[in-house]
Subunit: 169 residues, 2 copies
Amino acid sequence: MDALHRSGCPINLTLEVLGDRWSLIIIRDIMFGNRRHFRELLQHSEEGIASNILADRLKRLMERGLLTRSDDPTHKQKAIYSLTEMAIELVPILAQMGAWGRRHLPASEELSIRAQLLEEGGRPLWDDVMDELRAVHLGKALPPDTPSVLGRLTEAYLEVAARNRAGEA
Amino acid sequence: MDALHRSGCPINLTLEVLGDRWSLIIIRDIMFGNRRHFRELLQHSEEGIASNILADRLKRLMERGLLTRSDDPTHKQKAIYSLTEMAIELVPILAQMGAWGRRHLPASEELSIRAQLLEEGGRPLWDDVMDELRAVHLGKALPPDTPSVLGRLTEAYLEVAARNRAGEA
């Protein structure tokens, strides 16, 4: 193995790219929250990511081929981040991590509903999610009138969040 | 959310437990290499884990409920590490990470063959692997004459390794 990598094991290589506590959090927010600007990723962060860590991880994810950055045509001074095909294909890993975390760790109902739907939907749903992400991030065309699966996941989340707020009121 | 966790998102919680560059490497070695003693984990490490890091991560994995330690009945002075049910259920995440790493990163053939077989076998194979791990680590009985899937994965690995060594000679 070359000096760049600890070993050629595919699990090890994946951990070398993604094995820190923030990289997959950022990809999750871009993927499921459609947060495409630095400021959104910073201000809406559930985990309270620090500005310097966010900047560092975005840079690293670009260097490693998981994100691209371009000028946002609607906001002249803002950069917009997009997932690459390599990052989009992380959907099954994130779905399995969500399923495992929901089962074994103290996950909140509100932040678990999307993980639950992804788990229940299984591979066919993950494929639909990836196709929609390819449309959003890579500009690949979807068949007309394809219903938005990401929209459905977000609606389910907002519904649970609203119900919980009503319960608290 | 309590102060212990950054958020209640199940993906975040999973990363809080496993989001470092070594924890899943150790679980992989115990799971697929059946390395149960400290010395085996240290000396056979493909990635050259340092002794102090290995000790720290084993301790942390026990505290977090992924490993248990007991006295090895065959070696009086050696502790033996076992996976818990929670750790065994990481098989689908590790399988997806292996599949992704194999596709997108410079994985070596020798260290990829198990990932390839896991990917091709899909969910039914992962279930068999988990049942066998429950037998090995938790003492749950398997039906008599169940063929060893972990043995099959290891044989495939050894075959590729031997073929590559023959090619080099």
